[in-house]
Symmetry: C2
Subunit: 439 residues, 2 copies
């Protein structure tokens, strides 16, 4: 269509489909072609299709295309997204673009730029359905019908007093069901117990509040309770996914990537992985020293060496199971710090059962590889205690880190792994000494 | 308040606060007391406060309280939640309760009961804002103002034809901004390219669609495109969190828990952890056999034994980093299967850098513990290659499992761990032979 410059069909293509699907079809085009197609949509739709394009593609377009068109696009996308995108451009270009943008939009963008990434302020949009408490239902509908086009959502209508202090909220549902009472004032029907977040609060806190109160959007206020903006559901789902991804990375001893995996340079990736691998490496060095210390035992019972990876692996694996289970359960609010006694008892009981099971599985190969049946008993016994050590450290450490307000997801796994490596060796040799004598 | 039976204050307590906060304050009460307090709220609010209570507490209340009150409550909570709760009660009791519920609500519940847990059908609510395409804007507002009270959300209004086939959607935002055009028909203003899900599709697919299209709710249809219900944003956020939690559990070699951690019996917990620990255990047994095979080398260079945990740990840790990074990046759509060449090259490059870094860190202790400087070189060289093996297997296996449509989150980590244990030993001894001769 682009080749023959078929204006009608291109405009149709932009209008008929869901913007997300139009964006999907445009993936096959290169950035200048896609930009050309976008020009056939009217400005609001253009901005919406643009918002569904891959982020890298968006940045590429802004970098390449001419200032007037880019400035026009930026005027039509939500201010929070505009700030993110502008952050990718050189500063001189940003200043130049901002000069081309109408003053109210420019002011919104400047305001959002002041909030640090990862805070509520950086996530919010300033385009919020906001009405004075003295308006009636009829007046509210009139005002809204004029505002609606340029707002991201109107699912909640925030009610303010004359000095823009947030006083309450009316849901569109309530407003619609009050259509019969045209002269009722918003101030009389609003819900006054509001859930809000401060502009400088962490985005993780925002996601938790939204999930807890089942909200579609959450208002952001300053210290004096002035309404600054709202954070909408799509941003919240993105944050929930981002937080979950970061936690999974922390579990695997990767310092959370700020960018996507594909956009993170190899050197950054190496650094974020290397720092934790380095810490785990030191734990490994202590294990080496422990083994050196036990060299006399290892000389006497050389078959025991063969089981070293199995023994420390059993402790490490059951430990990381426990810590991940407990950290995720705490994150979802399923268990609380105050339940620590129950949690630890449950983990010890589970560890005993798991240790019994794995110990029995390990008995056959031990009988086969060890010189005597009596010596073979070292293996199941060691595994039993090592697995209990694993579940115990895997439950105590996350609770402890939570207690002292360290991030359990970040700290637990390396510590659990390191401690269990060394503990595994100590338990192993101690049991061997007890069973086979110290001579 | 309850003790002195202060009716006014109790009713005020239920009404003034956000229902989620009222529920929070009620946590300190036991189930019968909380139930008593609930009776002071009018039925819709009562159901809403109830929905914010802890799930276990909800079940407890339904089990203990008398049939009429429970049936009345169930009538007022969304049908999808009602089905979940009824699933916890004995069948005879459920039948008895359903008999007390008005026919339309009963029909909704019966219908939802036919969908398997974890499908779109089980998540949806049947209370949906749904209007005929021939209605005008004015008629739409009239209908909606009557329906709004009993609906969960009215953020999208779904448009159907005379035989209840889903034809399109109108957002409340569009409807409000069309207030000036009272005689316009919904059929003319609706968006017809709709994102829907089938009732039997998996809830993970639902969450992905909602995140991809930035939706507030998604309609559920049958094979003939009849509108069955909608899945609302709060259920979607719950699914996103559930899926993320399950993935984290899979990474840690725990078979995903169906219930919350606190509600899972210890025996179930043991089984879900034991099956994967057992698989990892077999990998450990193979490592033991490999070490037995290399006994002659271990006898000659006994200091090498001390570094075994360090060597296999380096491979396993870098491998699990790679697999978690790649699995989460695939899950968020950040990388695609078709990028496999880029992914693997990046991982090899990162592995080489990490191997170099860890190898250098390991040189000092190796020089200290090994008999000669030449022999000490075994350690950095081995670590270099083992870390590359780790990143290579950690990237190839998830891609491979994805290619053959196995769940990479479930399968990768045990395989990566097992393969790297054995590979680590083989690389270690091979390098030792090359450096120190075979004699």
């Amino acid at each position: 269509m682009l080749a023959v410059n078929n204006v009608g069909e291109l405009a149709e293509f932009c209008t008929a489909l869901h913007p997300a699907r139009t964006a999907e079809f445009m993936e096959g085009l290169d950035a200048p072609e896609a930009w050309q197609v976008l020009q056939f949509a009217e400005p609001n739709l253009r901005a919406e299709i643009f918002s569904y394009l891959n982020y890298d593609r968006q940045v590429e377009m802004l970098q390449e295309q001419d200032d007037t068109q880019v400035a026009d696009l930026i005027t039509h996308i939500p201010a929070d997204d505009a700030v993110d995108l502008l952050g990718e451009l050189p500063e001189a270009r940003v200043e130049h673009l901002l000069a081309l943008i109408p003053a109210p939009d420019r002011r919104d963008i400047r305001k959002l730029q002041t909030f640090a990434e990862g805070t509520a302020g950086a996530l919010m949009t300033t385009e919020v359905a906001c009405l004075n408490q003295r308006l009636t239902v009829r007046e509210a509908f009139e005002k809204l019908s004029r505002q609606a086009e340029r707002l991201e959502t109107i699912h909640y209508i925030y009610i303010v007093d004359d000095t823009n202090h947030l006083r309450g909220v009316v849901s569109t549902r309530n407003l619609v069901s009050s259509i019969g009472k045209q002269e009722r004032r918003l101030g009389e029907m609003m819900q006054t117990d509001l859930v809000t977040v401060g502009a400088h609060e962490d985005q993780e806190h925002v996601a938790q509040q939204v999930a807890k109160f089942n909200l579609l959007a959450i208002p952001v206020v300053d210290a004096d309770r002035h309404l600054l903006g709202i954070i909408t559901h799509d941003d919240v789902i993105d944050v929930v996914i981002e937080v979950a991804t970061e936690d999974a990375q922390r579990f695997a001893a990767v310092d959370p990537l700020e960018d996507s995996y594909a956009r993170t340079p190899i050197l950054t990736l190496t650094w974020k992985r290397g720092m934790w691998l380095g810490i785990l490496f030191f734990a490994g060095l202590f294990t080496a020293l422990a083994l050196k210390h036990y060299q006399p035992e290892l000389d006497r019972f050389e078959w025991m060496v063969w089981f070293i990876p199995l023994v420390i692996g059993s402790g490490g694996n059951s430990g990381s199971q426990s810590s991940v289970l407990i950290i995720t359960a705490m994150a979802t609010g399923d268990i609380q710090l105050r339940d620590w006694m129950t949690i630890i008892s449950r983990e010890i009981a589970t560890g005993a059962l798991l240790g019994l099971f794995l110990g029995l599985v390990g008995l056959a190969p031990a009988l086969y590889l060890a010189p005597t049946a009596w010596a073979a008993m070292i293996i199941p016994l060691t595994i039993f205690f090592v697995v209990i050590c694993g579940t115990l450290t895997g439950s105590v450490l996350p609770l402890l880190f939570k207690r002292i307000s360290w991030d359990p997801a970040l700290m637990s796994n390396p510590f659990v792994a390191g401690i269990n490596d060394i503990l595994g060796i100590v338990v192993y040799v101690t049991i061997a000494r007890l069973l086979l004598g110290n001579a």
